[in-house]
């Protein structure tokens, strides 16, 4: 069984953390993963940096630009992760934009992920239909879960469709925004969270975008299975470096 599915079966609210591979320094990837696992995080999204991350806000943009400057590439990332399963067991997801994967070759990319022990992918600009028609078979072949997104604007009908072709969890974007823009949840979010909870989807949901501290983590996981922190963690790494992960994780989970 895929590590993501295993994790989702645990009877707890899950904390998933996103970081940009190759940032702040090119060689920080492995130690960040290890640090996150060690400090009790449940799932990790490894950001494959892209030159033009159009679903991302300034924080992740800046980290991506720096990572690319540091020399991060798809090849380099795969090399860094080659032996990652020797040291960690935590579910690992690669989050990246579609073009670098396309250039690598989608089949080759998936194959490599399987070899390394990657459990899933999040590709914000790979639309559901294209995924379904052109790539699902490949993902399935290599045992990769493709995590699909929904937003407050997604219709119930489309949510059910997305649910039907998902096989891990649904990435529930908390509000209409790029990453790192929200600073707390209001009534709108609560209604949205409730609406989705009531839909009784087959896949659990994990909330992303706008989770930055214990309060928002708690709010989000009131209805959902877990929550993903991205920009807040990248900011933390920017300010405190990679040796202070415990402080960050503890501040979320208290």
């Amino acid at each position: 069984m895929n590590k993501i599915n295993q994790k989702l079966q645990e009877d707890k609210k899950l904390l998933s953390i996103y970081f940009t591979a190759g940032y702040p320094n090119i060689d920080d990837t492995v130690s960040i993963i290890q640090g996150l696992e060690k400090n009790g995080v449940d799932m990790i999204e490894i950001g494959l940096p892209f030159s033009d991350p159009l679903a991302d806000g300034p924080t992740i943009q800046a980290s991506s630009t720096q990572a690319l400057k540091n020399g991060m590439t798809t090849e380099v990332l795969f090399k860094q992760l080659k032996d990652i399963r020797k040291s960690v067991t935590i579910p690992l997801i690669i989050m990246g934009y579609f073009n670098p994967m396309l250039q690598y070759g989608v089949e080759g990319f998936c194959k490599k992920c399987k070899e390394i022990g990657i459990d899933g992918l999040i590709i914000p600009d790979l639309p559901v239909d294209v995924y379904h028609d052109d790539y699902k078979a490949t993902f399935d072949k290599y045992g990769l879960i493709n995590v699909l997104l929904i937003t407050p604007q997604t219709s119930d009908q489309r949510i059910r469709y997305i649910d039907s072709i998902s096989n891990g969890f649904i990435y529930m974007v908390s509000s209409a925004s790029t990453t790192g823009t929200q600073t707390g949840f209001g009534d709108e979010q609560t209604q949205y969270f409730e609406r989705i909870a009531k839909m009784n989807l087959k896949n659990p949901q994990i909330v992303g975008f706008g989770i930055s501290n214990n309060e928002t983590f708690t709010q989000a996981t009131k209805y959902a299975k877990g929550a993903i922190i991205g920009s807040a963690f990248v900011k933390h790494v920017t300010n405190k470096g990679v040796n202070n992960i415990d402080g960050f994780v503890n501040s979320i989970l208290i």
Binding site: S51, D52, F98
Partner: protein, 415 residues
């Protein structure tokens, strides 16, 4: 009703014909030109893009829409734009050169054909906040203009470098009441402005309409923009008939940034292979200099701004920062229609350096009394590169006027 224009009701190609009578070089039902196109967008944009996709052809076919669109093109934009026989230029190059005078449109470029169409679309979709990206500033001005005309809020994203080199257009946008937001990431040019506009749209999904300025972006934008711009080739047909007794030129030439200008002049000739299409890209300091925007030569298939097309990128799939002296051509991608025209060989692609473009621009000033936009100057430069027959009819899209580029020209030539 005016008798002053022909073919008024043929302006926007009827959507009914699209699937029944499929054109090889046109978009298919799924939003692809051959293998290019599609809508590679984050889920956050799905409702907006899908709403547009489901409505655009229906709305464009409404008599009411057509009437308003055509009336504005005529009375506000000043269409038809003339098809001008450039006598002295023709003499110099010993062929028959006609200039399609999009520079005479209100706001000074072809861009307004599209923004008029899209603002009417936005209104019919009930949107009241308008965003746009701009490179040369022409699309930004054209968008600010139609927003003022309709009393709608307007936010324009523009690369920091472009803000500096196209200052007159920034001034115009301010006069028109638009907010100009600098894009400070990447190469600080059109690509980055587009990223910012998309991010804004993601953040404002309900009330905001994104007026894309070229035949780029996710389907249905490339097709919709091409249809709005197709008024240009529709006019060329009857205008050329008046001048030369034929609706068909031998060549149609256009510079290509995203490709809306070219799409407009090609449109009605796309499937008539007797009419040769020439697309002119910006070679910057030279195709092999590392400072170029010649997408077709340097690009590979990939995804940019929601569309599968040709783009300049590293082996790794990172989008390359392009360079051209011309802000409107300084873009690492090209619309999917053009990628298809390139791949199939339907259009000939020529790249022109900064220097050659500037020289051609000045030549047009001196020979014909027309100051072209630097974008346009690239198209004009082909006459030094390619020989035409004396009897060839070559229609060049004079996509914009050069008022915005005066400082660049004057510094370049130390006038």
């Amino acid at each position: 009703m005016s008798e002053g224009r022909k073919g008024e009701n043929k302006r926007i190609p009827a959507y009914a014909g699209m699937t029944e009578n499929m054109k090889t070089y046109n978009v298919n039902e799924k939003g692809y030109y051959g293998e290019f196109g599609g809508a590679f967008i984050p889920e956050m944009l799905y409702p907006n893009v899908e709403e547009l996709r489901q409505n655009y052809l229906k709305v464009m076919a409404e008599p009411d829409f057509q009437k308003e669109f055509n009336q504005l093109l005529k009375d506000y934009v000043g269409r038809p734009s003339p098809l001008y026989f450039a006598k002295r230029l023709s003499e110099k190059y010993n062929t028959k050169i006609y200039l399609k005078r999009e520079d005479l449109n209100h706001t000074g470029a072809h861009k307004i054909n599209n923004t008029i169409g899209q603002i009417l679309m936005a209104k019919r979709l009930g949107k009241h906040r308008i965003i746009a990206e701009t490179g040369a500033g022409q699309h930004g001005v054209a968008t600010a203009t139609v927003c003022a005309l309709m009393g709608l809020e307007c936010i324009v994203y523009m690369g920091e470098i472009d803000i500096a080199r196209q200052a007159p257009n920034v001034g115009r946008m301010k006069m028109l009441g638009a907010t100009v937001v600098p894009a400070t990431s990447g190469s600080k040019t059109l690509k980055d402005a587009t990223n910012e506009a998309i991010r804004d749209w993601i953040n404002n999904p309900a009330n905001t309409y994104y007026i894309i300025g070229s035949v780029v972006g996710p389907h249905p934008y490339p097709d919709m923009v091409a249809r709005f711009q197709s008024v240009v080739s529709e006019e060329i047909q009857w205008q050329l008939k008046e001048h030369e007794g034929t609706t068909k030129p031998d060549y149609v030439v256009a510079c290509v940034g995203g490709g809306s200008n070219a799409a407009g002049v090609y449109y009605h000739y796309l499937d008539d292979e007797n009419v040769k299409l020439i697309a002119v890209e910006a070679a910057g300091l030279g195709v092999d200099s590392g400072e170029s925007a010649a997408t077709s030569v340097l690009g590979r298939e990939g995804i940019i701004h929601g569309s599968k097309t040709l783009l300049m990128q590293t082996n790794d799939g990172q989008i390359t920062e392009p360079y051209s002296i011309s802000a409107g051509l300084d873009y690492p991608g090209v619309g999917p229609m053009h990628a298809h025209l390139y791949k199939t060989g339907r259009a000939e692609f020529i790249s022109i350096t900064d220097d050659d473009a500037m020289t051609a621009g000045l030549e047009l000033c001196k020979l014909e009394g027309i100051i072209p936009a630097i974008e346009t100057s690239h198209a004009l430069a082909i006459f030094e590169k390619k020989k035409f027959n004396p009897t060839d009819i070559v229609v060049v899209s004079l996509s914009g006027r050069g008022d915005k580029d005066l400082e660049t020209y004057i510094n370049h030539f130390k006038l």
